[in-house]
C-alpha cells in the first residue's frame, strides 16, 4: 500500500475512531452485535434507574453514586467495543482516502468506429476501447488489446519501478488510476464505473462490503446462546433471592449479567476480523472477502508453482562434465563460447561458471563470431567462428541483431563450430555431421536427469565435448518453511512442467510433500478437484488466463496483480506484489486470525469464574454475613466489588484491543502443541487474570476514595 502502515496510537486513526465509537452507540448499529446490545440495554436501564432515584429517592434504593458509576461503566463497555471496531476500521479508512484521491475523473480517448472521441472516464462502459499514451492516466480497468507500454503502478502496489504491460499473454491487465510512462496502447475496458478494481479495493479496505464470515456467524450463535443462558441465570436469581429474603437491585442484576455474558470476545470479534484483512493488506494482498481469509487458515493443501515460488525462476549451471579424453577447460571454453550471446539466465550462468571455475573471461565479440540463437526446432544454440560467410545466404537465426553480424552459409563449414543444447538434439546434430554421442556422456546425462538437473550437451563440430549440469536453484529457507507447514499439517504440492524425474528430484530437495509433473491447466484442475473431493481445502496462486478455472475452483486462489483480468476475477485474493511465495504468508495470516478468535473466546469465558467470586458474595453478604469467606478477593465493600468487576470487564476490552488487532503470536507448531500452549495462557490465564485485575481495580477505587 502506498501509505506507511499507521501505528495504532496515531492520532490520525485515534481521533476519528473516538468519534466513531460514540456514533456507533446508535441502537440500530449495536443490535447487529447481540452481546453488546444486551449491554446497551443494561446501560439504558441503569441510567433510567439513576434518574428515577435522583427524582424520587425511593426507600431502599442503592446509593446514587453507585448506580451512576455502574451505568457509566456499562456505557463505557459499549463504547470500548465500538472503539475497538472503529480503530480496526480506521487504518483501512485512511488507506481508502488515499485510494479515493487516485480515482479522479480523467478525460478518456474513446475509439468509436475507428475515430477517437474525448469522454469523461466515468462515461466508459465495459467493452469500450480507449487509447492511452505516455504520460496519461489509464481511465479504467481493462486489458491491452494492442501495443506494449511501461506503466507506473505505484499507486496500487506501492512499488515505484515501472512494469511492462503488453497485449496478449498473461501481462495484459491494466488498472484504472495507473499511469502509462512510455508508448501507446489500446485498452479494452473491462469494468463499469463503480465496479473497478479501485472501487472494490476502497470498499474492501473501508469495510463497507464486509459481511460476517461463516465462522463468525457460528461464533456469534455461541455467544448469543451463552448470553441467553446467563440472562436466565440472572433473571431467575431475583425470585430465588426473594425466597432467601434478599431484595436484589436491578443495578446489581444488570451488573452481574453484563459481567457474565461474553462481552470481551463479543466486543472484539468484528475488530479481529477487520484486523485480519488489514494484516493481509499490509502484506499487499487484497482479500476479496473475509471468508477467503478464514478459508486460508483452513487450507490443507498448497499448490505451489515451481518456478518463482520454490526455485529462483531459472536453472543455473553448476558443473562441467567432460567426455572421456576431453579436458574440462576445453569443455568450459566451448560452453562459454556457445553461450556468449545467450541472454537467458541459463546462458549467463554458464558464462559465469566458466569464469569462476577456470578464469575464462568473457572475450571480445568480433565479426568472426556468428551466434546461432536457440530455436524450438533445433533446440540448440551456439556460435561459429571463422571466415566471413557469403552475404545473402540463408541463415539459421531468425532475428538479426548487432551481436549477430552476419549469417553463415550452410554449405561452407566454419573453422570452429560449437553448439550446446538438449542431449538428444546435440546427438542428432553430431550424427548428422558424422560423429556420435559417446556412451559415457549419455550415462552422465541420465545421472544428471535422475538428480533433477538438466544436462546440456556441448559439441564442437562432430565431436561431443561433454555436459553442462544445469540445476534448479531452490530458494533459500524454503525447505524450513515447508517443514513448518508440515508441522501444522499442511501439505505442499509442487506444480511444474518438468518431467516426473526432474520434478521428483527438485521436490526432494525443496522438501515439498508431493508434486505434479508435466502439469497442464487441466491436470491442475483435476488435482484440485480430487483434493476437494477428499474434503481438503486447496490454496494456489496463478496469473494466466488458463489459471482462471483453477483459481476459481481453489478455496483460496491468489491471483497475481500482473496477471490477466480473468485470473484476477477468478481468484478471491490479489497479490499486489505478484509474489507467489506470499501464499505462505496468506495462510499464516488466516491461521492467526482464527487463533485470535479462539483464544479470546476462551479467555472471555474463563473470566466468568472470578467475576462470580466478586459479585455473588457482594449480592448476598448483607443478608447473610456468614457468606463472607466466599469473597476470596477481600474486596473493600459490596458496592466496590460489583463496580470493580464491571470496570474490569470494560477495561479488559481496551487492554485486549492491541492483541485483537495484532493477532496472537503465531507459532508454526502442531495443533496439539499450540492447543496446550494457548490453553495455558488464555484458559488458565483467563481464570486467574480477573482475580488479580478486579482486586487491583478495587484497590485503586479505595485509594482514590471512590468507595
Amino acid at each position: 500500500m502506498p501509505a506507511q502502515p499507521l501505528s495504532l496510537a496515531d492520532p490520525a486513526i485515534l481521533r476519528p475512531a473516538l468519534v466513531d465509537s460514540l456514533k456507533k452507540l446508535d441502537p440500530r448499529l449495536v443490535a447487529k452485535n447481540p452481546v453488546m446490545f444486551v449491554v446497551e440495554v443494561g446501560s439504558v436501564l441503569t441510567s433510567l434507574l439513576w434518574l428515577r432515584d435522583l427524582a424520587f429517592h425511593p426507600p431502599g434504593a442503592a446509593p446514587g453514586w453507585f448506580t451512576l458509576a455502574v451505568s457509566l461503566w456499562l456505557w463505557f463497555t459499549v463504547v470500548f467495543a465500538n472503539f475497538a471496531e472503529a480503530i480496526a476500521e480506521g487504518r483501512g479508512k485512511a488507506q481508502a482516502d488515499t485510494l479515493r484521491k487516485m480515482r479522479r475523473e480523467v478525460t478518456a480517448r474513446r475509439l468509436r468506429d475507428g475515430k477517437e472521441e474525448q469522454v469523461p472516464s466515468s462515461a466508459l462502459r465495459k467493452g469500450d476501447r480507449v487509447v492511452v499514451e505516455a504520460g496519461q492516466m489509464i481511465p479504467g480497468d481493462g486489458e491491452i488489446v494492442e501495443g506494449v507500454a511501461s506503466v507506473n503502478e505505484s499507486a496500487i502496489t506501492g512499488e515505484s519501478a515501472p512494469v511492462i504491460r503488453e497485449s496478449g499473454g498473461d501481462r495484459s491487465a491494466v488498472t484504472g488510476g495507473t499511469t502509462v510512462l512510455s508508448d501507446r496502447i489500446i485498452v479494452r475496458i473491462t469494468a463499469d464505473p463503480g465496479e473497478s478494481f479501485l472501487d472494490r479495493m476502497i470498499a474492501l479496505v473501508e469495510g463497507a462490503s464486509r459481511q460476517k464470515t461463516p465462522n463468525e456467524i457460528a461464533l456469534h450463535i455461541l455467544l448469543v446462546g451463552l448470553t441467553a443462558v446467563f440472562l436466565f441465570a440472572c433473571v431467575t436469581l431475583v425470585p430465588l433471592a426473594a425466597y432467601s429474603g434478599i431484595g436484589l437491585s436491578v443495578t446489581a442484576i444488570v451488573a452481574l449479567l453484563v459481567c457474565l455474558i461474553p462481552t470481551t470476545i463479543g466486543g472484539l470479534l468484528s475488530a479481529i476480523g477487520i484486523a485480519g484483512m488489514d494484516r493481509l493488506l499490509r502484506k499487499n494482498v487484497l482479500a476479496m472477502s473475509g471468508r477467503a481469509v478464514e478459508a486460508a487458515g483452513d487450507v490443507d493443501v498448497l499448490l505451489l508453482d515451481k518456478t518463482g515460488t520454490i526455485t529462483l525462476g531459472n536453472r543455473q549451471a553448476t558443473e562441467f562434465l567432460p567426455a572421456a579424453s576431453v579436458r574440462v577447460e576445453d569443455l568450459a571454453d566451448a560452453a562459454q563460447l556457445a553461450s556468449l550471446a545467450d541472454e537467458t539466465p541459463e546462458g549467463r550462468s554458464i558464462v559465469v561458471l566458466a569464469k569462476e571455475r577456470f578464469g575464462l573471461r568473457g572475450r571480445e565479440v568480433g565479426p568472426e563470431h556468428r551466434f546461432i540463437a536457440f530455436s524450438a526446432q533445433t533446440r540448440m544454440s551456439g556460435c561459429d567462428l571463422g571466415e566471413r560467410p557469403r552475404v545473402g545466404a540463408q541463415g539459421q537465426a531468425d532475428e538479426p541483431g548487432p551481436e549477430r553480424p552476419g549469417d553463415w552459409g550452410a554449405e561452407r563449414p566454419p573453422a570452429r563450430s560449437v553448439r550446446k543444447g538438449a542431449v538428444d538434439a546435440v546427438a542428432r546434430h553430431v550424427v548428422a555431421l558424422g560423429g556420435r554421442m559417446p556412451p559415457d556422456v549419455e550415462a552422465a546425462a541420465s545421472r544428471i536427469g535422475d538428480t533433477g538437473g538438466t544436462p546440456l550437451a556441448v559439441s564442437e563440430g562432430a565431436r561431443v565435448l561433454g555436459l553442462v549440469h544445469l540445476k534448479d536453484i531452490v530458494k533459500g529457507g524454503i525447505k524450513e518453511r515447508f517443514d513448518r507447514f508440515r508441522a501444522m499439517g499442511i501439505r505442499t504440492v509442487m506444480i511444474t512442467g518438468d518431467n516426473p524425474r526432474t520434478a521428483a528430484a527438485i521436490a526432494r530437495e525443496a522438501g515439498v510433500d508431493d508434486f505434479l509433473a508435466e502439469a497442464t491447466p487441466e491436470a491442475k484442475m483435476r488435482l484440485i478437484q480430487s483434493e476437494q473431493a477428499k474434503g481438503k481445502l486447496v490454496a494456489m496462486t496463478g496469473d494466466g488466463t488458463n489459471d482462471a478455472p483453477a483459481l476459481a475452483q481453489a478455496d483460496v486462489g491468489v491471483a497475481m496483480n500482473t496477471g490477466t483480468q480473468a485470473a484476477k476475477e477468478a481468484g478471491n485474493m490479489v497479490d499486489l506484489d505478484s509474489n507467489p511465495t506470499k501464499l505462505l504468508e496468506v495462510v499464516e495470516v488466516g491461521k492467526q486470525l482464527l487463533m485470535t478468535r479462539g483464544t479470546l473466546t476462551t479467555f472471555s469465558i474463563a473470566n466468568d469464574v472470578a467475576k462470580y467470586f466478586a459479585i455473588l458474595p457482594a449480592l448476598f453478604v448483607a443478608a447473610y454475613p456468614e457468606m463472607a469467606p466466599l469473597d476470596v478477593m477481600h474486596l473493600a465493600s459490596p458496592y466496590s466489588a460489583i463496580l470493580s468487576a464491571v470496570i474490569f470487564n470494560a477495561v479488559i476490552i481496551v487492554l485486549l484491543i492491541p492483541l485483537a488487532l495484532r493477532g496472537v503470536r503465531y507459532r508454526p507448531l502442531g495443533a496439539a502443541a499450540v492447543l496446550r500452549r494457548s490453553l495455558l495462557v488464555y484458559g488458565v490465564g483467563g481464570v486467574i487474570a480477573p482475580f488479580i485485575g478486579i482486586k487491583l481495580v478495587d484497590l485503586v477505587l479505595v485509594a482514590v476514595g471512590a468507595v
Binding site: 465462522n215 457460528a218 461464533l219 450463535i221 455461541l222 446462546g225 441467553a228 443462558v229 446467563f230 436466565f232 441465570a233 440472572c234 431467575t236 436469581l237 431475583v238 425470585p239 430465588l240 426473594a242 425466597y243 432467601s244 434478599i246 452481574l256 457474565l260 487458515g297 483452513d298 490443507d300 508441522a487 501444522m488 499439517g489 499442511i490 501439505r491 477428499k534 481438503k536 488466516g590 491461521k591 482464527l594 487463533m595 479462539g598 473466546t601 476462551t602 474463563a606 466468568d608 455473588l616 448476598f620 447473610y624 456468614e626 457468606m627 463472607a628 469467606p629 466466599l630 502442531g670 495443533a671 496439539a672 499450540v674 492447543l675 496446550r676 494457548s678 490453553l679 488464555y682 484458559g683
Partner: protein, 573 residues
C-alpha cells in the same frame, strides 16, 4: 475417610474400567455388527419382534423420521401408563386392592417413567398395583432405556459415518435400535442380574404382602412383590424407580454390601461401555477413551468431595456431646456406611439413575451439593443409558467449537466441520435445561403452592426445590426427600420439567446427528484439533464445568453454599 472406604471406591473404578472394553465391544456388535451375538437364542426373538411390529430392519431413517418414531412411541407409552394407573382398580394383579391413582400423580408418574426419570411422588407399595408396576413401570424401565441408547447411537452415527454430501443421510432405524437394545442387552443382562439379586436375598414373588408376628408379639405387614426383576432393570437402565418407597435403602431392594456393589456396577456398565462402542464407531477407540477419561475425572471429583464432606463432622452438631468420628450418618444405612453411601449418591446422580441407598436430603450441605451439581452438569458423567453419551457428545461439539479455533483452523470434529447450524442446535440443547430448571425453581420458590411442600426453611428448602427440578429435567429421579411432591402443583410442574428435559433435548441432539452425517470428512492431520489424549479430556471437563456449573452457581450459592457457610458459623434455619 478410611482405607476401606477408598479401597471400595478404587475397586469400583477398576471394575468399571475392566467392563468398558468387552461390554463396549458387545454393544458394538449388537448395534453395528452384521451378525448379532447369540443368534440361536436371541436371534429368533429379534426377528419375531420385527415381524410382529412390521419393522423392515434394513430400512434406515433420517433424523426426522427417527425422531418422529421415537416421539410417537414415547407418547404411546405415556398414554398407556397413564391409563393403567387410572384404571388399576379395575384391572387384575392387584391383590392389595389399591385404588385408582389421582390424575395429577398419574400424569407425573407416566411422564417420569416415559422419560427414564423415575421420579416418584408415590410410595410404590401403597399406590401401585403389581400390574401397574410390571406392565406400566417396568415396561418403561426397558423401553426408555433402549430409546436412550438408540438416540446416542443415532447421534454417534451422524458424527462418525462418512457418508459424504451425496451419501444417505440416515442415522439408523429407531425400531431396530429399540428392539435390539431390549433383546440383546437389557433383557439378558437384567435377567442374570435379577437372579444374582435373588440369590443375595431380594424377593421375587407375585404373592400378596405377608402379615407376620414380631418378637414383641405385634403384627407387621411385610411388603413383597416382583422386586428383583424390577431392581435389576432399574439399575441397568439407569431408571432408579424403586419398588419400595425407600428405594435401594430398603433391605429388600438392596440387602447387602455385595448387592450394593452389584447395583452400582449395573448403573455405570452401559454408559461406560457406550464410550468404547462410540470409539469403535469412530474407527479410533481413543476418541471413546478421551470421553471416558473426562467422565471418570468428573466422577472421581464428585466422589472425593462427597466422601470427604460426609466423613467429616456435621458443623451443626459441633459442641454437642456426641462422637463425631463416624461422620454424618444421618439418613444412611449402617450396612453401607459413609463411603458406599457417598459413592452411591455420586454414581446415581452422575448416571441419571436416581436410585438412592441413603437420603440425599440428610447429607451435609457440600455432600448434598455434589449430587445436585452432577445433575446440573446435564447428566453427562457417564449419564443415563444413552443420554449420557449423547449429552457428552453435544458437549464435545461445543468444546471443539470453543477451543478448536485456537489451533488456527475452523472447528472440526472427526474430520467434519462444526458450523453455524450445529452451533445453533448445540446451544439450544444447552439452553433448554437451565431455562426449564431455573424458571420453574424461581417460580416455585416464591409461590405458596411451591413453598408449602417444603419441610425445611432457609437455604435447605431452596436446595430441595432446586434439587427437584434439576433431578426432573436431568431425568434423574432422585430427590431431596424433604419435599412433598405429591401436590397438584408439584406433580404438574415436575411432569412438564421431565418431559421438556427429555424430549426438547433429544431433538437438537438428533438434529446435530442429521446435520453432521452428510458432511465431507477430512482425514486428520497434524494441524487438526486433537480430540483424543489428556489435553482434550481436560478441556472437555472444563467446558462441562463452565457451561454447566456457571449457570447454576448463583442459585447454588443461595442453597447449599449458603447453608454450608451458615452451618460453619453455627447458624441453622
Amino acid at each position: 475417610m478410611t482405607f476401606n472406604g477408598w479401597f471400595q471406591i478404587a475397586l469400583y473404578a477398576l471394575v468399571i474400567l475392566a467392563i468398558t472394553k468387552p461390554f463396549g465391544l458387545y454393544l458394538h456388535r449388537v448395534y453395528e455388527g452384521d451378525r448379532q451375538p447369540l443368534p440361536r437364542v436371541l436371534g429368533p426373538l429379534e426377528r419375531w419382534s420385527y415381524r410382529l411390529c412390521g419393522v423392515d430392519a434394513r430400512k434406515e431413517q433420517g433424523w426426522k423420521a427417527y425422531a418422529a418414531s421415537m416421539l410417537l412411541f414415547s407418547l404411546f407409552g405415556l398414554v398407556v401408563t397413564y391409563a393403567l394407573q387410572r384404571l388399576q382398580h379395575l384391572l387384575p394383579l392387584n391383590p392389595q386392592k389399591l385404588g385408582a391413582v389421582a390424575p395429577d400423580l398419574a400424569f407425573n408418574t407416566a411422564a417420569s417413567f416415559t422419560t427414564n426419570t423415575n421420579w416418584q411422588n408415590y410410595g410404590g407399595e401403597s399406590t401401585m398395583s403389581y400390574l401397574t408396576q410390571m406392565a406400566g413401570l417396568a415396561w418403561h424401565n426397558f423401553t426408555s432405556a433402549a430409546v436412550g441408547i438408540g438416540i446416542a447411537l443415532a447421534l454417534a452415527r451422524g458424527l462418525t459415518r462418512q457418508a459424504g454430501p451425496n451419501g444417505p443421510r440416515t442415522l439408523g432405524n429407531f425400531w431396530v435400535d429399540l428392539i435390539r437394545g431390549i433383546v440383546y442387552v437389557l433383557l439378558p443382562v437384567s435377567a442374570v442380574a435379577a437372579l444374582a439379586l435373588v440369590a443375595m436375598g431380594v424377593p421375587q414373588t407375585l404373592a400378596a404382602y405377608r402379615e407376620v408376628g414380631t418378637l414383641e408379639g405385634l403384627k407387621q405387614v411385610v411388603t413383597l412383590g416382583p422386586v428383583a426383576s424390577q431392581e435389576a432393570i432399574k439399575m441397568l437402565g439407569t431408571n432408579g424407580g424403586g419398588f419400595f418407597n425407600a428405594n435401594s435403602a430398603h433391605p429388600f431392594e438392596n440387602p447387602t454390601p455385595l448387592a450394593n456393589f452389584l447395583e452400582l456396577v449395573l448403573i455405570f456398565c452401559i454408559p461406560a461401555a457406550l464410550t468404547y462402542t462410540y470409539g469403535k464407531m469412530a474407527r479410533d477407540t481413543r476418541q471413546g477413551w478421551a470421553i471416558f477419561a473426562a467422565m471418570a475425572v468428573l466422577w472421581f471429583g464428585g466422589v472425593a468431595v462427597a466422601y470427604r464432606a460426609e466423613a467429616g463432622h456435621n458443623p451443626a452438631l459441633a459442641g454437642l456431646a456426641v462422637s463425631h468420628a463416624p461422620g454424618n450418618m444421618e439418613g444412611k444405612e449402617v450396612r453401607f456406611g459413609i463411603a458406599d453411601s457417598a459413592l452411591f449418591a455420586t454414581v446415581t446422580t452422575d448416571a441419571s439413575c436416581g436410585a438412592v441407598n441413603s437420603m440425599h436430603d440428610s447429607f451435609t450441605p457440600i455432600g448434598g451439593l455434589v449430587p445436585m451439581v452432577n445433575m446440573q452438569l446435564g447428566e453427562v458423567i457417564f449419564g443415563g443409558v444413552g443420554a449420557g453419551l449423547y449429552g457428552m457428545l453435544v458437549m464435545v461439539v461445543l468444546t471443539v467449537f470453543i477451543a478448536g479455533l485456537m489451533v488456527g483452523r475452523t472447528p472440526e470434529y472427526l474430520g467434519k466441520k462444526v458450523e453455524g447450524r450445529e452451533m445453533k442446535l448445540a446451544m439450544l440443547y444447552v439452553l433448554v435445561f437451565p431455562v426449564v430448571v431455573l424458571t420453574l425453581a424461581g417460580w416455585a420458590s416464591v409461590v405458596g403452592m411451591g413453598t408449602s411442600s417444603l419441610n425445611n426453611a432457609g437455604p435447605h428448602g431452596l436446595s430441595e426445590i432446586l434439587y427437584a427440578f434439576s433431578s426432573g429435567a436431568a431425568n434423574n429421579g432422585s430427590a431431596f426427600a424433604g419435599l412433598n411432591g405429591n401436590t397438584r402443583f408439584w406433580n404438574t410442574t415436575l411432569g412438564v420439567d421431565m418431559l421438556v428435559g427429555r424430549f426438547l433435548m433429544i431433538l437438537p441432539a438428533l438434529a446435530i446427528g442429521g446435520s453432521m452425517v452428510g458432511k465431507k470428512t477430512v482425514a486428520p492431520g497434524l494441524g487438526t484439533f486433537p480430540t483424543t489424549g489428556p489435553t482434550f479430556a481436560v478441556l472437555l471437563v472444563s467446558v462441562v464445568l463452565i457451561v454447566g456449573a456457571l449457570t447454576y452457581f448463583p442459585a447454588l450459592a443461595l442453597g447449599p453454599v449458603l447453608e454450608h457457610f451458615a452451618a460453619l458459623a453455627g447458624k441453622v434455619f
